[in-house]
Structure formats: structure tokens, C-alpha cells
């Protein structure tokens, strides 16, 4: 039998194959057992995969629900969720997420309000929950898994040798760092690129008494406190030179590595650093460091944010997915996360327990963390602010690398930010 193929038939057939594949792809991707969910989870460092392995195994043993998961580090994870969100993909049921980028995903993550009672939510740090709520719809876009706040990590051995104490104020920080800078060593390290640069500027902005937006939600970061904050930040690198000059290209990993390798004497890092710095496999300064509260200026405010878990609004398996989310934020999972990896619990009850059980340096560090969280803040989650964040990355970098004065850079960014937020409907 001969087949008559015409050009029209060929092109029509090709179009049908493409169309059919496009329509079928999401269903093929979802074709899995009803008692199996898929999760895209965060990793970072050598310890995280073991944590998820244990959490998932325990969850499956308890519920019979299988979890197929993929692990990605923070930045690629966010990028992947952005891509999946743009495609409204139902591929994953559960996502790891974070306060910092949550506003980009308000329309992709399913509301968790209906799955957590008001009483249950009362057990979570209020600041952790507040910034995961969409200010427009009041939907809870994610639930905090562990709190992210920073404390000061300093080389206690070197400080003792020089008769120095951990810095309390901005002035102290400069003075102490200047004394310890020299012979290839630096007194301090701060990150200076991308999101970490914005995070650092944000802390200094609050400490200088300023804020990102005013009462009307209009950009206010270019007011006097903002200029003071960015000038201080730039001067650490360019004027006082107490920070490695390459800091303008550092993100969190480079920042942490500078301290854990022994090249710098002081840094501000996340709770996970407490475990990493104590581990000989990941630190050259084991037993040579201590912690202190974050430095202060007019205020002692710095960020209090959280790693969180979210539900895909497109998920076809919401009940088992929510069950998994609930397990990952359960006291059991949070205790494991703290005991093994020093990630601070997002539940008040668990935090109270770990604080009461801690002794010595660990107890001091936990008290410092609690103090930071108690006064901590986050940048606003207004429409368009996620685009403002990208704008701020280059704004801060331009000032840090002396391409513009802090005032010029911030004024320029504020004008553009107002336009972006107006366009995004922040003031409707």
C-alpha cells in the first residue's frame, strides 16, 4: 500500500504532532501515583541533602506518601520557580522558597490560610509569617520553615591577642577592623553583589533610621538615612579599606568562605554558619571564633526573614502536598534542622525549647539571634518591588565601586523605582 504524502498533508501532520505534544506534555509530566508528590527543595553545602533525605524518609514512613524531590541552590531554585511559574507548570506540588523573593510568586503559590488555623499560626514568629502574606489578597503564600537572621561572627583568638572586643556600633566596627587589617588579612568582610548587597544595604538603611518606602509606599531609600547607609557601606571598601577590594563581586558564599578560610576577622552571617564554622570539613577556624550581636547605629534593626515552604496553586495533589509542607514545618523537623544544621526554628515553641536547652556559647548566640529577630524587618512586598530589587542590585554596586556617589545612585534609583511601582499598580 502506498502512502500519498502532500506538502499540505506533511505540514498539517507536523503541526498536529507539535500541538498534540504541547497539550499532552503537562499530563505526561504529571503521570504518577496518587500517593506520590513532587517537590523542588533548597540545598546548599554538603549537609543539606542529608537533611532532606531524612525528612522525606520519615514523612513517607509516617504517611505512606512518597515524595520525589529535586534539590537546587538558592539562586537557581528561584530562577527555576520563576520559569515554572511563568509556564503555570503543575510539575512540582511543593516548593522551597524564601521571604526575599516571595512577592514574585504571590500568583503562583496557592494560599495556605485554609490549611493552617489561626492558633497554629500563632506558634510561628509573627515577623516570619507577616512578610509571607500577599498585602493585596491577604493570602499566606508560604509558611516559615526556619528563621533567617544574622549575627556577628568574629575571630575571638585574634581579638583577644590584640585586646579587642567585638564591635557594637558602626564606629567600633571601623576602628576594630582597621586595627586588624594588614599583611594580607582584612578586619571585615561584607558581600557587595546582587541580592546580598541589597540585603546588607537594607540592614544599614534601617540602622541609620531610614526605610525603603514612606507611609504612602513611595520610595524613601534615597533620603538622608539611605545616603548615610550607602556611604558607610562604600567607605568600608573604598575609604577605610578594611574589606577585601574584591568584595564588590562577593555574594554569600564568597563572604562566608573569606571568614571560614581565616582570611578575615569579622563578618555577619546566617544561622547556618554556626554549624559550618564548627565543622573541620568546612572551616579552618574551628574553635577560634565567637559570636556577637549585629552592629548598631541609630537603631539595631537588621533583617528577620525566613526559608519557607509553598504549595503550587496548579498542583493536582494538594492534600498530600499540604501534608508534606506541614511535616517540614513540624516541631520534629525543625528540631532536626536546628540540632544538625543550626537553622533557627520558625516555631516559637521549638525556639523556646532549643534556647532553654542550650548552654555556653550556643546559648549566647541564640540570645543574640532572638534579639535580632525580635526587632527584625524585611523590605516591602508591594507590587513592582521585585523589579525594584533588581534595580537596587546595580545601584548599590555602582556606589560601592565608585561609579556614582551614593546620593546620585540612590536618587536615580528612587525615580525609576517610583515609575516601576506606579506602573505595577502599587498606588491604585
Amino acid at each position: 500500500m502506498s502512502i500519498r504524502l502532500t506538502r499540505r498533508g506533511f505540514l498539517g501532520g507536523s503541526a498536529a504532532v507539535i500541538g498534540g505534544s504541547t497539550l499532552a506534555a503537562p499530563y505526561i509530566a504529571q503521570a504518577q501515583n496518587a500517593d506520590e508528590i513532587r517537590a523542588l527543595l533548597i540545598t546548599g553545602g554538603p549537609l543539606y541533602p542529608k537533611y532532606w533525605e531524612k525528612v522525606v524518609a520519615d514523612f513517607t514512613a509516617k504517611t505512606g506518601i512518597k515524595v520525589k524531590y529535586d534539590l537546587l541552590e538558592f539562586t537557581p531554585l528561584t530562577t527555576k520557580i520563576v520559569t515554572l511559574g511563568a509556564a503555570r507548570s503543575p510539575l512540582y506540588d511543593v516548593f522551597s522558597t524564601h521571604t526575599a523573593q516571595i512577592d514574585s510568586f504571590f500568583n503562583y503559590f496557592g494560599p495556605l490560610n485554609e490549611y493552617f488555623t489561626a492558633d497554629e499560626l500563632k506558634d510561628f514568629y509573627q515577623v516570619g509569617v507577616d512578610y509571607l502574606v500577599d498585602p493585596k489578597t491577604k493570602n499566606l503564600a508560604a509558611i516559615p520553615r526556619n528563621m533567617d537572621a544574622r549575627t556577628q561572627y568574629y575571630r575571638s583568638d585574634v581579638y583577644a591577642e590584640h585586646g579587642l572586643k567585638a564591635a557594637v556600633t558602626w564606629e567600633d566596627l571601623v576602628a576594630v577592623s582597621q586595627k586588624l587589617t594588614g599583611n594580607g588579612y582584612y578586619g571585615l568582610v561584607v558581600p557587595g553583589q546582587g541580592d546580598p548587597a541589597q540585603r546588607t544595604f537594607s540592614d544599614y538603611l534601617w540602622q541609620a533610621g531610614g526605610d525603603w518606602v514612606d507611609d504612602q509606599g513611595k520610595p524613601a531609600f534615597n533620603a538622608a538615612p539611605g545616603i548615610e547607609a550607602l556611604t558607610f557601606y562604600r567607605d568600608l571598601i573604598q575609604k577605610w579599606k578594611v574589606v577585601p577590594p574584591d568584595a564588590v563581586s562577593y555574594q554569600w558564599n564568597e563572604n562566608s568562605t573569606q571568614f571560614s578560610s581565616g582570611a578575615v576577622m569579622d563578618t555577619f552571617d546566617w544561622p547556618g554558619a554556626f554549624a559550618t564554622l564548627a565543622n573541620p570539613e568546612t572551616s579552618k577556624v574551628v574553635g577560634k571564633w565567637s559570636t556577637a550581636p549585629y552592629v548598631r547605629n541609630k537603631t539595631a534593626i537588621s533583617c528577620a526573614i525566613s526559608h519557607a515552604m509553598a504549595l503550587n496553586s496548579m498542583s493536582k495533589r494538594k492534600p498530600p502536598a499540604v501534608e508534606f509542607i506541614k511535616y517540614t514545618v513540624s516541631p520534629e523537623a525543625q528540631l532536626l534542622n536546628f540540632n544538625e544544621y543550626s537553622n533557627f526554628p520558625s516555631r516559637l515553641s521549638v525556639a523556646k525549647q532549643v534556647v532553654s536547652e542550650a548552654t555556653g556559647a550556643k546559648a549566647e548566640w541564640l540570645a543574640q539571634l532572638e534579639q535580632t529577630i525580635a526587632t527584625g524587618k524585611e523590605w516591602p512586598k508591594l507590587p513592582g518591588f521585585s523589579r525594584v530589587c533588581t534595580l537596587m542590585f546595580s545601584t548599590i554596586e555602582r556606589a560601592l565601586s565608585n561609579q556614582q556617589t551614593p546620593e546620585e545612585a540612590l536618587n536615580q534609583a528612587a525615580a525609576e523605582a517610583l515609575q516601576i511601582m506606579t506602573q505595577a499598580g502599587a498606588y491604585n
Partner: protein, 308 residues
């Protein structure tokens, strides 16, 4: 029978195809389907997106006409990006072409050890851009990098390779030149080896100097190859991403922010796909303008010469 007897080429609409054509279409169809699915469709889709407010954070997408293009041109960040892109493209292409021709002429001569040199020239283009980016990031690391270590050893001042805006742009250009010049050398070498020898030999007999032969005979004969190389490199520099992203992520402060990096940041950090698509299409239009100039100016000149 009649269809089979028809000359290959034109077929009447709706009529069945000759068996040889049928086989051809069938064999080509997997590639064609893949091309349409992963190239043509996304290309068209992103063009449509560039006219929409397509933010992941917004509940819906809506048509905004040329607004994304207007925002992009008004953005000071994009103006800086455009400046950086033009400097990057112009400087890297100029150096690569001049160095490429120079090295090709050298490699084309009959010196000892040139076979080895030709083989080594294949190495940089074979390395993945991501690997090149990572290697250069380490080479140019301010504290632990090899380049500054050598400068220190020689008693010379160290350079802020990746932390100073001007040095950072120079660093990424060095990485690009290192990777791409050898490929250009090979292309120019192929061009040189295919040139007719008679005009060169005639000039030698007439006593022309080597420089005169190169300038007045070799270079004009090599012009078609140079045009192809320029075209490829213009397209390439407007697509450069991996090396820049791995070395500087477009920083510090946008000093190495090429259009591709700008589009990536808009799409994957701001989740603003409409603006990212607009930036991508501006990059495409710009490279098309340069290509039009590259081919259009000589064509216009020839036409004017003919009419005069």
C-alpha cells in the same frame, strides 16, 4: 508515474509529492518539528510577550503596545547596558580580527613548530564558555588569582580585575578575545590558503614589499572572509552570556552588563518577562542593524560607483 517523472523542484499545490520528496520530508520532519517546537515557536511567543505586561507577580497579562520598549530605552540601566554592549562588541571584534589576521599570516608561513601552533589553536574554541568564565574568574581573583600573583612576584602593582568597573570590562573582554581569536585565526588561515597565488607571485616579481603585497593584494582578496567573520562575531557578541555571567554577573554596578545579562536579570530576578523580551528583541534588532550596515554600505558604494 507522472509525478515521479516530473523534475524535482516545483510541485503543484495539493498534488502528491514524488517518492524521493516524500522520503526527504519524512527524514527531515523530526528536525523540522524540533526546530519549530524549540526555536520558531518560542521566538514568536517571546515577540508577542514583548508587547504585554507579563510579570509573574501580576495576576494577569495585558497588552501594553510599545510600552515595554519605551520603558527599556528610558531606563538608565539599559542605557548603560547599551554603552557597555557597543564597547564590548567593537573592541573585542576589532582586536580579534586584527590579531586573527596577524596570527593567521604568521601561521601560514613556513616557520618551524607551526604545526603544533595550529593544533594548539584549536584548544580555546573547544572549551565550553562556562569553563572559560570560571577559569578567568579564578585567574583574575584579586586575592588568590594567578594574574595578580604573577604581578606581585614581578614587583608590579596588582590590578582590581573584577572589582573595578573599567578593569572588569577589560577582564571579560580578555576572556572573550582569548577564546574567540584562535577560531578567527583558523578561518583566516583557511581564507589565506585558498587565495590565488598568481597576483602575489606577480607582485613579488615586480619587486613589491611584503607589507605592500599584504596591504594591496592579500587583504583585498581576503575581504569576503573578513565579511563573514565580522558577521559571525557581531551575532556572537550580542549573544555572549556565559562568560560574563560566570565572571561578573554583569557587575560591578552594570559595568559588564551586556544585553543578554540584562534580559536574564529582568526575566529571572525581576520575573518581568515582557521587559526581558523587549530587551532581547532590541538586541536582535541592533545586531540586524549592524549586519545591514556591514553589507549595505559596501553595496551602496558599489551602486554609486556604477551609476557615476
Amino acid at each position: 508515474m507522472t509525478t515521479a517523472a516530473r523534475p524535482a523542484g516545483r510541485q503543484r499545490r495539493g498534488s502528491s509529492l514524488a517518492p524521493s520528496w516524500q522520503k526527504g520530508y519524512l527524514l527531515a520532519s523530526p528536525a523540522l518539528i524540533a526546530m519549530i517546537a524549540i526555536l520558531i515557536y518560542p521566538l514568536g511567543y517571546s515577540f508577542v510577550m514583548s508587547f504585554y505586561r507579563w510579570d509573574l507577580a501580576s495576576p494577569s497579562q495585558y497588552f501594553v503596545g510599545l510600552s515595554n520598549y519605551r520603558d527599556t530605552f528610558n531606563s538608565l540601566g539599559f542605557q548603560q547596558t547599551l554603552r557597555v554592549q557597543l564597547i564590548f562588541s567593537f573592541v573585542t571584534i576589532a582586536i580579534e580580527v586584527v590579531a586573527g589576521i596577524g596570527v593567521a599570516v604568521l601561521v601560514n608561513s613556513k616557520l618551524r613548530g607551526l604545526k603544533l601552533a595550529r593544533t594548539l589553536l584549536l584548544v580555546p574554541p573547544m572549551i565550553a564558555p562556562a569553563v572559560v568564565g570560571l577559569n578567568f574568574r579564578w585567574l583574575f581573583n584579586g586575592q588568590y588569582g594567578l594574574v595578580n600573583a604573577i604581578l606581585r612576584y614581578l614587583g608590579l602593582p596588582e590590578a582590581p580585575w573584577l572589582s573595578d568597573p573599567n578593569w572588569a570590562l577589560a577582564s571579560v573582554m580578555i576572556a572573550d578575545i582569548w577564546q574567540n581569536t584562535p577560531l578567527l585565526v583558523l578561518l583566516f588561515l583557511a581564507g589565506l590558503q585558498s587565495l590565488p597565488q598568481e597576483p602575489i607571485e606577480a607582485a613579488q616579481v615586480d619587486g613589491a614589499s611584503p607589507w605592500g603585497i599584504f596591504w594591496h593584494i592579500t587583504l583585498p582578496l581576503l575581504r569576503p572572509v573578513i565579511m563573514i567573520v565580522l558577521m559571525l562575531r557581531i551575532i556572537d557578541t550580542f549573544r555572549t552570556f556565559d562568560v560574563i555571567w560566570l565572571m561578573t554577573q554583569g557587575g560591578p554596578g552594570g559595568a559588564t552588563n551586556l544585553v543578554t545579562v540584562n534580559a536574564y536579570l529582568l526575566a529571572f530576578q525581576s520575573a518581568s518577562f515582557g521587559h526581558a523580551s523587549a530587551v532581547s528583541y532590541i538586541a536582535l534588532f541592533l545586531s540586524l542593524i549592524f549586519l545591514a550596515l556591514l553589507y549595505g554600505v559596501p553595496w551602496m558604494r558599489r551602486r554609486l560607483r556604477r551609476t557615476s
